[in-house]
């Protein structure tokens, strides 16, 4: 009886261990099953490089180039803002700050990560969007720039906490060696610690970017949602995630439009897969 119980528990634990693998595979299979149906009628090149996303006009056009560029523009903007500030903040926490400040900062950053994106989006809509509108004298403040700024704050906690971990795990002897040779604190950080922690910091950046690309609610609320190819960062854009969120509710199950949204899901899945593989490589390169 006891043996039997143990057998059950053992198998249960094993099954749970398998669960994550199973779910990831299932997600991919289901996305493929629905998404690939689209390519029976729409060629892949039209889907990826088509310049028009008119899913409900006659004839419908399913080119996701504007959406990809929209996601890319918002992401690059957010990366430009969040990477230097995030890494700077990580350096401050790991190397410069006194112990007490360090604890407070770490707790604060974890709280920042916990703010729901729908609340951030709402705040962005009410405060940031009108500011952008008046500062740049635009017809609308719902632009890629507003999205980038808001998303930068969402990527920051990820970047800071992983980069800080990486800096923290640099052996103390490196730092002591550099300081003993007469390097200033900054020279130690810049020449020794940053390069020793570089792979961890790159992983932090990748995962931060991953968070930005996958973000849906805030982006949908403040980037204006117009599916045209953007020519500047001060124009409304629409991202891949926001397209699914905005249109899935209206798409008829089994229609081309529905399959196209799942095909976008495949693209998003592949992007997050690539980002995680890269980050994993950086993290385990030791």
């Amino acid at each position: 009886m006891r043996k039997f119980k143990e057998f059950i528990v053992e198998k249960l634990i094993l099954i749970c261990g398998l669960f994550c693998i199973l779910v990831v595979v299932l997600i991919f299979i289901f996305l493929l099953k629905e998404g690939l149906t689209l390519f029976k009628t729409v060629p892949l090149s039209h889907f990826l490089f088509g310049k028009n996303w008119y899913p409900i006009s006659e004839p419908a056009q399913f080119g996701i180039l504007p959406l990809i560029l929209g996601s890319l523009l918002v992401t690059v903007g957010a990366a430009i803002i969040s990477i230097p500030i995030g890494v700077g903040c990580a350096i401050y926490i790991a190397e410069v700050a006194p112990l007490k400040t360090k604890e407070i900062l770490k707790a604060g950053i974890e709280l920042l990560a916990a703010i729901p994106s729908v609340v951030l989006g709402f705040i962005g809509m009410i405060t940031l969007v009108p500011w952008i509108k008046t500062i740049f004298k635009l017809p609308t403040g719902l632009t890629a720039l507003s999205g980038s700024i808001m998303l930068a704050f969402m990527a920051m906690p990820t970047i800071v906490s992983i980069a800080e971990d990486a800096l923290y795990s640099v052996p103390k002897s490196y730092k002591e060696g550099a300081l003993a040779l007469g390097a200033t604190r900054w020279q130690t950080i810049w020449r020794v610690e940053l390069s020793a922690a570089s792979s961890g910091i790159l992983a932090a950046v990748m995962l931060g970017i991953g968070r930005v690309i996958g973000e849906t609610m805030a982006v949908m609320m403040i980037t204006g949602n117009s599916a045209v190819i953007p020519t500047s960062i001060l124009e409304p854009v629409r991202t891949l995630t926001a397209t699914i969120a905005a249109e899935m509710g209206e798409a008829v199950v089994g229609s081309e439009h529905y399959f196209a949204l799942f095909a976008i899901g495949i693209v998003l899945f592949l992007i997050s897969f690539a980002i995680n593989v890269t980050a994993d490589m950086f993290l385990h390169k030791k």
């Binding site: 528990v9 634990i13 094993l14 749970c16 261990g17 398998l18 669960f19 994550c20 693998i21 779910v23 990831v24 299932l26 997600i27 289901f30 996305l31 500030i85 995030g86 700077g88 903040c89 401050y92 926490i93 190397e95 410069v96 700050a97 900062l105 707790a107 604060g108 950053i109 974890e110 709280l111 920042l112 916990a114 703010i115 729901p116 994106s117 729908v118 609340v119 709402f122 705040i123 809509m125 704050f153 200033t184 900054w186 950080i189 991953g210 996958g214 973000e215 849906t216 609610m217 609320m221 699914i244 969120a245 899935m248 509710g249 199950v253 998003l268 997050s272 897969f273 995680n276 994993d280």
Partner: protein, 283 residues
Amino acid sequence: MNIYKRRKIINAFMCSATFICATITLLPLISIFIYVLSKGASSLNISFFTHLPRPVGEPGGGMGNAILGTLTLIGLTCLWAIPVGVLSGVYLAEFGNNKFGAVVRFSADLLNGVPSIVIGIFAYILFVVPMKTFSALSGAFALGLIMIPTVMRTTEEILLLVPRTIREAALALGISQFRMTISIVLKTALPGIVTGILLAIARIAGETAPLLFTALGNEFWQRGIMQPIAAMPLQIFAYAISPFDDWHRQAWAASFVLITIIFLMNFISRLVIYLQRKSLKAK
């Protein structure tokens, strides 16, 4: 200017630059909290917690259904995601020190990185399309997929902190490895695991995207888990994008309540995890 002076100036300048970076990172957190507090607190009253939403134009009303809905969704999610998450964490900590464990770990990280909207549409085709109805159940499924990786990795981390000596002592007394895992190691690590769960709950409480096509939202009190259900993040979203001032006020109040809940959970769990680590390391 000699080189020593220059080095000192650069050092001081760059170190203060990192301080400015830290300030820029934290400033929005503080300002967001103050902003939501100032906007939301004034709209809070008893009826906000007990009443149903009113149509546009009628003042008053509340979000009782959304608050109850969020609690129901969290409860349903915990029901299945906690056992799966904790057990898979146990698997990783106790038996995951091999190639297969690495694959499990990677897929957990990947699941954590998959955009939440993609998880939403996955739950949509798995539950909503075959059942032909939006439901609390499908929402809880989607939220569970977001919760599991977090619970799993924190459980693993905490279990690995349990000292070897405790395991060895248990094994030396002649109990089997599974018995040891379940009744000794899990028990020792319980406070840590609970805090990991609290953190994961705080994370899913604010998730909106996976609920859009699963729980859907509901204007009325819920009528069972096979029916659409209201949730606070969904309600905040619906009210935030509406043009009505009254609805905006309600959305601020809901944001305030949601953020307060999430902050409190974070705070409690950090505190417990801090104490737990301290006592485990002291042993």
